[in-house]
Amino acid sequence: MKFHMMHLMPYADLDPSYSEKYPSSWLTLPNSYYDPKKGAKLYNRYIDELVYADTCGFDGVCVNEHHSNAYGLMPIPGVIAGALARATKKATIAVLGRALPLLNNPLTVAEEYAMLDNITEGRLIAGFVRGIGAEYHAWSSNPANSHERFHEAHDMIVRAWAETEPFAFYGKHYQFNYVNVWPRVYQQPRPKIWIPSQGSTETIQWAADASRRYTYLQTFSPLAALRKYMTMYREQADKNGWTAGPEHMGWSCPVYVAETDEQARAEAKPHIEFMFNKLLRMTPEMLLPPGYTSVASIKGMLLAKGNVTAAGKAEKTIDDLIASGMFLCGSPATVREQITTMQKELGFGVFISLMQFGSLPHELTMTNIRTFADDVIPHIRPLGETVTETAEA
């Protein structure tokens, strides 16, 4: 199994009392809540943490894109990836991903990824996402065209990497007379493509197409969703006439490891709850603008709630998060066992751990990285390295 450390680069110094005045830490929270003196220190600290993961033996590091929010301070993730390209030596660098439908010129992503792939001599992993709903508000991109624009932008980027002569691209949303990306990607025929998602039938069907076979990452989800969507991916691949291997499936999850379960819980509690209750605080209208998800799935949610006019939801506790499997927390033995159990059941070969979350301070983050690298990774690395026979269990 391959182990990657993900960072969201949250604004950890966010005044938690903001939620008395504002409904969300996204979109409409005034940026007066951001102190550049503190933010500058956070950026450099967070880059150090990712570089440390490289020296500790993680296989890769991951960054991603969010806009106008305190949850993740990487509106332009290529800036961080560029810094990591020089500061890391061995780790792959995954940008998970660029939100293609937001862009009026997706060729910027073809170019940005090609540059990163060259500077790192082939350590780039290319992530493509649609972004979460709030980005469509923040970047004035029409959510009703999200799927169309994603597919069209993806097709153009992948073709731009494959072709070695200029070509014209005329789509519904994007039109270029000359597509001719300099530099070419370092990895031939192209970098690995990863598709992170919180679970979408459409995305899985698309990623598991025999012509793509993109690695599907289930991010920040309860175990029930992890099971459902990984099984769906594997079955979809079977239907399409190919067999999904460990390298085609990944699980992304916040992780905290300490000497004992009790210590881990006590240390992580305020910080993971800050992440879920303050940084991920969002209204349904921000999260699910019309067209972002299918009408059928929004309707299911509305009917499940049973009350279209209901507002707000209960805050999550660390116990809820651990119980649902959205947070792996405990002694190295506990965390090893949880990952092993899920791996044996589902057969994924990529594990992405969020080692800093919410307000988790630098020292605890560094210890978390070191402990995971020393006491978890070496023990379970062989998982998924050979074809497991337990996938049907």
């Binding site: 469509y136 508000h137 009703a144 209208e285 009408v295 279209v308 006019t309």
Partner: protein, 260 residues
């Protein structure tokens, strides 16, 4: 009482649901983002004097969502075709909000079959410095409250949970409204350049307490459409034909009397 018929009319590969009732000169009513599923008191009274035709826009309610539908201009051409296909002439076109935007787009293209225009709090243009509401960020309850001045109307509407079929309609309408109006939000940057082409009598009606498109937009519309008249309805939100149906009908009657 006027009888209302539900008719399905197929045109350009799109079947549209049309409510039609009353006798007299033809009136085409173009609904806003919430659709037009039922025959409202306003429509009932209009149908006492007119042949009232209320289609649900392609992409809304009981109408098909055609492949060709991408923007409000597409709807304008569709309605010009519909007017022709129904053999209508001398039509009074009434539009509210999104429907007022469609009516304006129709009128800058061709007024040959149009006698006059009533625009009730129309979308379609942008006025710098005037803050509009955000229908996509408001939740269901906030939207309902912000559409009305009289909050007792909103409370009455919110007292009942929508049924499953009402949720279906709401989601379908929301999806098409996003497709048509998300960006540029609720307007077409090119429209204001050509509104001088509107050469039929035009009445603009606006609620003084419109929280979605504030009444300051009424002045801008009046300036852009030559010879247009404007009436502000007091103590009224974004839907004067619902919140102040009688006053709105009186304004239309007076306008039509003079516009003959």
């Amino acid at each position: 009482m006027t009888d209302v018929a539900e008719i399905f009319h197929e045109l350009n590969g799109c079947k549209v649901r049309v409510l039609r009732g009353g006798k007299g000169a033809p009136v085409l009513f173009l609904h806003g983002a919430r659709g037009a599923t039922s025959w409202t008191p306003f429509m009932h009274k209009l149908a006492e004097r007119y042949d009232l035709i209320v289609p649900e826009h392609p992409g809304y309610g009981g109408s098909d969502t055609p492949e060709w539908l991408d923007n409000v201009g597409d709807l304008a051409y569709f309605y010009l075709d519909l007017i022709k296909s129904l053999g209508l002439t001398d039509v009074l076109v009434i539009g509210n909000s999104l429907g007022g935007w469609i009516a304006t787009e129709i009128a800058v293209r061709n007024t040959a079959a149009i006698k006059s225009l009533v625009l009730i709090a129309p979308a379609g243009i942008y006025v710098q410095g005037v803050q509009r509401g955000d229908i996509f960020l408001w939740n269901h309850a906030q939207t309902t409250r912000n559409l009305f001045h009289d909050q007792s109307i909103a409370e009455r509407l919110l007292a009942t949970e929508p049924t499953e079929s009402e949720i279906d309609l709401m989601l379908k309408n929301n999806l098409m409204t996003a497709k048509l109006t998300w960006a540029p939000r609720l307007y077409n940057p090119d429209l204001c350049k050509w509104m001088h082409r509107i050469d039929v009598p035009t009445q603009i009606i606006w609620g003084d307490d419109d929280k979605l498109i504030p009444v300051a937009y009424a002045d801008a519309f009046q300036k852009l459409i030559p010879g247009s008249r404007m009436q502000v309805v007091k103590n009224c939100g974004h839907l004067p034909h619902i919140e102040k149906a009688d006053e709105t009908l009186a304004v239309i009657a007076e306008f039509e009397g003079e516009a003959q």
